[in-house]
């Protein structure tokens, strides 16, 4: 499509949005990267002298524990989410259209309601005298103390991120023709076998992209660990916030954010290449 | 009214001289596919078909004329005026799409009235002209319906009405009948032709269906791989194909590789690879040249064995007989050479009791034996 002004139409259309994202997305992130190499000063907050000290500070035992804790919580979350997502995704993928749209609606809506609200509800359930323990008391079981623990964080994260694992899996499973499963069954496989040998391998691309998404978002969580975790359960997100808005050590916060960003990119690339390989496996088996 | 849109002059009929001239029209795609150079001249009131398979470039050519593809080279002139530099909305050529492209959110009336509304004609005039054109295409009462509420054939008529109401000097049809079922296609074919004759419109009709092209056209251009292979009347194309490609694309054909034995004032004498001698009234240039002899199945005469003298007479065995109601198809094997050929004739002319395995005598008029170069 050509336009009147001797500029291709797409340039005219994309100029404004493109510049907007440049100025309010790319530029600030690059600015933050630059910031991470400046010196922190208690008086002026930042001195524009180049230094690596902010990154070196991240190698302290405190930060290493922080990273370890964050990554392990992320891993646990991802594994639990993957495990729970499969049955849901399979159910949705093979459901009748009416049920399918209801199921997708029910799983998408919580995603769009603010995290604080959902965490509030979860806190109400997991508290010492919360709904869960009231229920357990009712049936004569001892109370489970989950408030302010790492488990609570994992539960909260899984609860928030499960839909993001389910959706790519649904797409992947929908692409598996039901007749393949029927063929396996016809050849003598039971449900568990069909899952292990047909559904799981062919749904791998969807699983991988779901895992990357969930893992990336878990390790960058802020609100959930802040409200559900204990004092010793800090994650990277909380540290970034505290350094930035409480301690006002902007360069340090910037460095930590950059490290988080780098890990995000690494996992994304890993995920993409794994997905590609899994997809190739899928094609080869056609 | 907008100055850039052509005015309607006169009550009906063409507002400008309708001759279309394409000179060296070329469209080159970055992927390497090229259509053209194509040069054509289409006369006023002519029904001109572009015939070819998918990928032959016929739709590309049509879209170049309509302005939705820009030319890499060449010119297009409508009524003497160059239009190839004009944007699509200023070209004043009608375009009827293959999938009709009716506005789904507008009624039939609004669809047909769209062009007139753009040209700011008064509502009374619009109403009268819409009514008239809908009646002309056989849909007088459906103005209030939406496209989703009418059948495919009716949608096609609305699409035609929408273009025709503007009385453009040229109407382009992009395979308009291919989405319809066979019976409807034939019916609409005749209606279209009648409409065209009645209005005297110049139109270019793109199709891959050769019987459609033969039935409707004053002239046909056969396209292959982006080039025009032959232009001519249906009779020209069918009876006097200029290449083996055209011969086989339009109608069925028998093809027998042969070599030239000798030529004289009557024509040429050739011998097929299998050894069958054929006489052709065609003249060939060189001496020892590889040829292909081609003749149509309906040109193979089945004679009673009592007839002993006939040009190109040879004995055959019927390998297979297919009775198709009106026609009968025979697969013949020439006794002398073992080569297979197809013969067809009207069933009511067949002699009693022809069956597979029978011996018959075939004969071909030398004028029907066409010779083409090449293996």
């Amino acid at each position: 499509m050509a336009s009147r002004f001797h500029l291709p139409l797409w340039v005219i259309l994309l100029a404004l949005p493109g510049l907007y994202l440049l100025g309010l997305f790319l530029a600030p992130i690059l600015y933050m990267l630059m910031f991470s190499f400046w010196q922190y000063s208690q008086i002026d907050i930042v001195v524009r002298a180049f230094t690596f000290e902010n990154y070196l500070a991240l190698l302290s035992p405190y930060y290493l524990r922080l990273f370890g804790r964050t990554f392990s919580i992320g891993l646990t979350t991802t594994l639990v989410a993957a495990f729970l997502a499969f049955p849901v995704a399979y159910f949705i993928a093979r459901a009748r259209p009416a049920i399918k749209s209801l199921a997708i609606f029910l799983i998408m809506t919580p995603l769009m309601i603010s995290t604080v609200v959902r965490v509030f509800g979860l806190a109400l359930i997991l508290q010492r005298d919360g709904v869960l323990n009231q229920f357990l008391a009712l049936i004569g079981l001892p109370a489970i103390l989950l408030a302010r623990t790492q488990s609570a964080i994992v539960i909260g994260l899984v609860q928030m991120l499960l839909p993001l694992m389910v959706l790519p899996l649904v797409s992947a499973i929908e692409r598996i023709s039901p007749s393949i499963e029927e063929a396996a069954r016809n050849l003598g496989a039971n449900s568990a076998r069909v899952f292990a040998t047909v559904v799981f391998p062919l749904a791998l691309p969807g699983l991988v992209s779901g895992c990357v998404l969930v893992y990336t978002l878990s390790i960058s969580a802020l609100v959930i660990p802040a409200l559900l975790g204990g004092a010793g359960d800090r994650m990277i997100g909380q540290q970034i916030y505290d350094q930035m808005l409480v301690a006002l050590n902007w360069p340090s916060s910037a460095a930590l954010s950059t490290v988080l960003a780098v890990f995000t990119i690494i996992f994304a690339i890993l995920g993409l290449s794994l997905t590609a390989r899994a997809a190739k496996l899928r094609e080869a088996g056609r | 009214m907008p100055a850039h849109l052509p005015e309607r002059v006169g009550r009906r009929g063409m507002s400008q001289p309708a001759a279309l001239r394409l000179v060296d029209v070329t469209k080159r795609y970055p992927a390497g596919y090229t259509v053209g150079p194509v040069s054509l001249e289409i006369g006023k009131g002519e029904f001109f078909s572009l015939l070819g398979e998918s990928g032959s470039g016929k739709t590309t050519l049509l879209r170049c004329i309509a302005g939705f593809e820009t030319l890499t080279a060449g010119t297009i002139a409508l009524g003497g005026e160059p239009i190839h530099t004009r944007p699509p909305h200023l070209r004043n050529v009608g375009l009827v799409f293959q999938n009709y492209a009716l506005f789904p959110h507008r009624t039939v009336y609004e669809n047909v009235a769209y062009g007139l509304k753009l040209r700011k004609r008064p509502p009374a005039e619009i109403a009268e002209r819409v009514g008239r054109i809908l009646e002309m295409v056989g849909m007088p009462d459906l103005g209030g319906r939406y496209p989703s509420q009418i059948s495919g054939g009716q949608q096609q008529r609305v699409a035609i009405a929408r273009s025709l109401i503007l009385e453009p000097p040229l109407v382009l049809f992009d395979e308009p009948l291919s989405n319809l079922d066979a019976k409807l296609r034939v019916q609409l074919r005749f209606e279209l032709r009648a409409l065209q004759r009645r209005l005297g419109m110049t139109c270019i009709f793109v199709t891959h269906d050769q019987s459609e092209a033969l039935a409707l056209s004053d002239r046909i251009a056969v396209l292959a791989k982006g080039q025009v292979v032959q232009v001519g009347s249906p009779t020209d194309i069918y009876q006097r194909p200029n290449s083996l490609f055209v011969a086989e694309f339009v109608g069925s054909s028998n093809r027998l590789p042969a070599t030239l034995e000798h030529a004289d004032q009557d024509g040429s004498h050739v011998r097929t690879l299998g050894g069958l001698a054929l006489q052709s009234s065609a003249r060939t240039q060189a001496d020892t040249v590889q040829l292909v002899a081609m003749f149509r199945p309906e040109e193979v005469e089945i004679l009673p064995s009592s007839v002993t003298e006939a040009p190109n007479r040879f004995a055959c065995e019927i390998a297979d007989l297919t009775y198709l109601g009106e026609d009968t198809h025979l697969q013949l094997i020439a006794r002398a050479s073992g080569e297979r050929l197809l013969a067809t004739f009207k069933s009511h002319r067949r002699w009693a009791g022809l069956a597979a395995g029978d011996e018959v005598v075939a004969a071909i008029d030398p004028a029907a034996v066409r010779l083409f170069g090449g293996p």
Binding site: A27, S220 | L95, L166
Partner: protein, 262 residues
Amino acid sequence: MTPAARRILLAVVIAIYALILAPIVVVVAVSFDGSGRYAFPPTQLSLHWFQEFFQSAPYFNSFMYVSLPIGLIVAVVATFLGMLVATALTRCRFLGRQTAEIYFTAPLFVPDILLAAALYLAYSTIGMKGSLLSIAAGHLVIALPYVVRTLMAGMAGIDPRLEEAAQNLGASPLRAFAHATFPLLQSSIVSGAAFAFIVSFSDINLSLFLSGPGTTTLPVHIFSQLEFQDDPTIAAASTLQILLVGGMLFVLQRLFQRTPAR
């Protein structure tokens, strides 16, 4: 599947859905409890906490004068920009179209805490911290990809030949778009705008970093109350949030069969 296996699957799926929906159900239930002790199920039904919400200045102001205006601004601007992007990506052929598509949907894949921190730094440097506009500008970045995706899906479903037919009948390219394509996009546009609003209204990470005194969004206020106080008005505020967002999504689903695409 065998009927037994099918029943097990259904049970498991229902249990998992219960896990996901339970907090929301609890919040809504608790907000109607008059006793103020977060009793679940509610012991005395009452709308007291909702009254509290509308009468409490911090809650009401954060809703009415911060979250709502920001959400509306973001909805309108994101829809406009998203329309430009979607048109370019679906109707224009140009080198680097794939890259452009990635560029405009990139914010979906970046954890928003990174953007939040970066914008905080940028705004602080140029002195734009804490205003309604600066929060809206940040929300716009994360809302835009949703609108773009929704509009692209909508436009892909519209036959480009309709615009060509309109042009062929004499409409200039702009008019052809307005007459032939735009009317068919209405449901996509409304959906896109709604998603943009929801994304902005529900955001917490960006708002935590970018809010200032007087520009506290509703989720941020709820967050602050959760950390330091135990006031059941939180439940009412949360329920209102749930009803607004859930209601919009439900209406969208019913009217247009649309759920947000990520």
